[in-house]
């Protein structure tokens, strides 16, 4: 059928987005609507001793100032970051200590500036080191992964290995910074709460609000029609939605809370810094004998979130002896959280850089080194892979990139002041899937309506789900209408962990397939209300699989390093993926390329600095936190293998939203080494570091 799965269908909401009529959470205006502005704490640890609202309340237009002294009481949340304005405790700098509600944005901002908060500040500690006395081994890392796994005798095997790499890498704190800052508009009417929010999953927002405000979920509606990106930071409810609901209840007005950009680093999560130690021991042919990946990271005092950066080492390579360890220190820092490919992005940067170092040490081609260490089963679990086409990705990538005949010697290709190099890295991301429900209805006019509370954060969920539905129904795409983005729709999982399309698509497929069967059995014209079917994938989508299920990919980068300035430019970036069936090549390509773009930022431009004296992130705005711009991005290409995998879901798809970032930073770092002979082990590879490295190397060569 035209436009079904596999077709490059155009985004359904595209017209609204290019025309400026797509509405985002802060763009719902109601009569009497008010605006709110938060007041962040200016100490890194301590207690609020006083909130003087006198000056703020006389600012013309200010309606109310909420603080822990007067804000509505909430039932204690599961997520401590949402317990805003509930007590005097300041767990980190930037924590919200008050909220000003006003008639206008200007009055709200002026009011917030006029609130006088006094603190009893305590000594704080925000500096993460491997030897920090507070470092401990948690029970598990993010995603429920055990913190430690060990096989065999990794230390002994490492000590006796013919070829060894023992190196440390550092990935700095990173910020998600979706283009739409977190925002929510809330209103109460007759004991019912309606919220428009910028979230990756409104179901969780509704459940959280219900728990916080002690309301049955039926009295809450949460919508997220369009979401201006999330990248993990909108995967859980954030303080904006709680504050909006509180302020709306307190003032009796519809209230919009649109967080100022500078507030985001402190309150919407960040990728925690990770300190890696990698030890690879191999025989003379490059076969790994020992693989040890140890990660130290930070979390906040109020919430344990442990970036699972050593987990990909449990998936990637065959090594008879291995250890993967996560350690964490709880510091007076903002709570870290999910950022695109949590675990895999920093972990694979370190592992794939170390693999490159091993290849250089062995004088082996880095692709061949990886091929040589292909496992037969998932190394950690011993499960067979449902499909694993890493080698295919490496080979196809090498072909497309023109890898053959690459001169492995570093620092030998010059173009005037530029040093040129190429690099490769592997990528992996797990297949995650969660139960969802959906309904499908055939209408007498010949159209079909599919309803599911999926969230389109830019992935093209509407479009691809309609394609899945059209296929299952056996009808043209144009006949399928779809509704997403509201808790009024059948409940579904969040847009996160690259699980959305698989999870929602499964439910949509089942509902539509069921409807197709009903229609086949239905004689004559449809009744006026049409004919419906529903599906709930509970029990199926969350069933334990006998297979290890992961997407794989290979990244290739070509860089030019300017020896005058240390500036790095990526001339070409290629990703080749094995991610099951690609349901919409048009939107899929955009997701792959988008992930690679963020990976380029991670490699070259992005990095945040925890200010030890003040306890906040120094790079708090978009002028200082350098998201890549147009000029940073030259040729980026994404391709994929045709991968048939019947052990996934009815569509045969794997997630594609995150794998693009995973190997990109390592590929670029490896290319920079190939270009210059300088191995930098701390991201980003900024001009100051590169130039210093180049000068050090020149000084060494001169000796």
């Amino acid at each position: 059928m035209t436009g079904g799965v596999g077709a490059p269908a155009e985004r359904r909401e595209g017209r609204e987005k290019v025309g400026g009529t797509a509405r985002y959470a802060a763009e719902f205006h109601f009569p009497g609507g008010a605006q709110a502005w938060p007041v962040p704490a200016v100490v890194a640890r301590g207690r609020v001793t006083g909130v003087d609202t006198t000056a703020a309340l006389v600012v013309p237009g200010v309606l109310a100032v909420l603080s822990h002294e007067n804000a509505p009481r909430l039932v204690e949340p599961d997520d401590p970051t949402l317990a805003v304005l509930q007590n005097a405790r300041v767990p980190h700098r930037g924590w919200f200590v008050a909220l000003v509600v006003a008639e206008t944005l200007e009055a709200a901002r002026a009011g917030a500036a006029a609130v006088r908060v006094t603190y009893d500040a305590e000594e704080h500690d925000v500096a993460l080191t491997v030897s920090h006395p507070g470092v401990y081994v948690p029970e598990e890392a993010n995603g429920g992964h055990p913190a430690v796994r060990e096989q065999g005798d990794p230390d002994g095997a490492f000590d006796s290995a013919a070829a060894r790499v023992d190196v440390a890498y550092r990935v700095p704190p990173l910020h998600n910074h979706p283009m739409e800052p977190h925002a929510s508009t809330a209103r109460w009417e007759d004991g019912r709460l309606t919220v428009h929010t910028s979230s990756q999953g409104t179901g969780a927002v509704r459940a959280t609000l219900a728990a916080l405000f002690g309301l049955p979920q039926e009295r809450i509606v949460v919508t997220a029609e369009h979401v201006g990106g999330g990248f993990g930071s909108k995967g859980t409810p954030r303080p904006d939605v709680v504050l909006a609901a509180m302020a709306a209840r307190h003032t009796g007005r519809p209230v919009t809370v649109a967080l100022p950009r500078r507030c985001l680093p402190a309150v919407v999560g960040h990728r925690a810094p990770t300190l890696h130690r990698l030890r690879l021991g191999a025989d003379g042919d490059g076969r790994l004998e020992s693989l040890v990946h140890e990660v130290t990271t930070h979390t906040s005092r109020i919430k344990e979130f442990v970036e699972q950066a050593a987990v990909p080492a449990r998936v990637m390579y065959a090594a008879p002896h291995s250890r993967t360890v996560h350690r964490v220190a709880a510091l007076d820092v903002p709570s870290p959280s999910w950022m695109r490919a949590p675990g895999e992005a920093p972990g694979m940067y370190a592992l794939e850089s170390a693999m490159d170092e091993l290849a250089v040490g062995l004088g082996m081609d880095p692709i061949e080194l990886r091929v040589r260490n292909e496992p037969d089963v998932e190394p950690d679990s011993g499960k067979p892979f449902s499909s694993r086409n890493l080698v295919g990705c490496l080979r196809e990538g090498a072909r497309r990139f023109g890898w053959a005949g690459r001169d492995p010697r570093p620092g030998t290709r010059r173009d005037g002041p530029l040093l040129l190099g190429t690099g490769v890295a592997a990528a992996t991301y797990p297949v995650l899937v969660a139960p969802s429900t959906a309904t499908a209805r055939a209408r007498p006019d010949g159209t079909f309506l599919v309803r599911i509370n999926a969230t389109d954060i830019g992935t093209g969920a509407r479009t691809v789900l309609a394609q899945v539905g059209a296929d299952a129904l056996g009808v043209p795409l144009e006949q399928v209408r779809i509704e997403v983005g509201s808790t009024e729709l059948p409940s579904a999982s969040l847009a996160g962990g690259s699980s959305g399309t698989a999870s929602w698509g499964w439910a949509v497929h089942d509902a539509c397939a069921r409807l197709a069967r009903r229609l086949a059995e239905h004689p004559g014209p449809l009744p006026e209300q049409g004919l419906g079917a529903s599906a709930d994938t509970k029990g199926a989508a969350d069933a334990e699989s006998d297979f290890a299920r992961h997407a794989f990919g290979a990244h290739f980068a070509e860089v030019a390093v300017d020896t005058v300035t240390g500036e790095v430019r990526v001339g070409r970036l290629l990703g080749v993926y094995a991610a099951g069936r690609i349901l919409n090549p048009r939107t899929a390509r955009s997701q792959f390329v988008g992930g690679m773009t963020m990976g380029l930022g991670m490699a070259l431009t992005e990095g945040s600095t925890m200010d030890a004296a003040f306890g906040d992130f120094n790079e708090s705005d978009l002028a200082s936190y350098h998201v890549p711009v147009h000029a940073d991005i030259a040729e980026i290409d994404a391709h994929w293998l045709d991968e048939e995998d019947s052990r996934l879901n009815p569509m045969g798809s794997k997630g594609i939203g995150e794998i693009g970032i995973v190997g990109t930073a390592a590929a670029i770092g490896n290319a920079v080494h190939h270009a210059t002979g300088v191995r930098l082990r701390e991201l980003p590879l900024s001009p100051d570091r590169l130039l210093t490295g180049l000068l050090d190397r020149r000084a060494q060569d001169a000796l």
Partner: protein, 176 residues
């Protein structure tokens, strides 16, 4: 309405329609468009001129509407993404090209990218150089927009979804 010392009447044409409003001096064009006129196409990404999501055309030139006090724009002509195609139902060629190229994902930076691209086309045609234009190029002559030029000129518009390559293609599609 507040104190007359802090408010003023300002007259603007927005997408061809005249508007006369009494504005708080602190009101920036972006908030006037979004809050007073309900034109939410221009987006607030940073509120400080650091992301470009709020880009609109003022008297035909692209600017960050978050940094312009509305009161200072008295008499100006403003074009937003909603008015780019004039009165017609048909999208502007840039809008069409963005659709065809899938030059966006979340859509939040998109109106700014499109307005910025409209400004870029005019600037290049008027002979405005960029950082990557050959300094020896003849002043005053239209600057050919190759990919490097488009990328440099659009660098004031961040896109976190990473739609950059498709955006550049979309702009190429409409270069006369």
């Amino acid at each position: 309405m507040g104190n007359h010392r802090h408010h003023a009447r300002t007259a603007l044409r927005v997408n061809g329609k005249p508007h006369t409003l009494t504005v708080d001096h602190r009101r920036v064009l972006l908030d006037l468009l979004r809050e007073d006129l309900g034109l939410t196409g221009a987006k607030k990404g940073c509120d400080h001129g650091q992301c470009g999501a709020c880009t609109v055309l003022v008297d035909g030139r692209r600017v960050n509407s978050c940094l312009l006090f509305a009161v200072a724009l008295d008499g100006c002509e403003v074009t937003t993404v909603e008015g780019l195609s004039g009165d017609g139902e048909e999208p502007h060629p840039l809008q069409r090209a963005f659709l065809e190229r899938d030059a966006f994902q979340c859509g939040y930076c998109t109106p700014g990218q499109i307005c910025s691209a409209a400004g870029v086309l005019a600037e290049a045609a008027a002979g405005h150089p960029s950082h990557v234009t050959d300094p020896a190029a003849p002043p005053g002559e239209p600057v050919p927009l190759d990919r490097e030029e488009i990328r440099e000129r659009l660098s004031g518009n961040l896109c976190r979804c990473g739609a950059y390559p498709r955006i550049v293609e979309a702009v190429e599609d409409v270069i006369p």
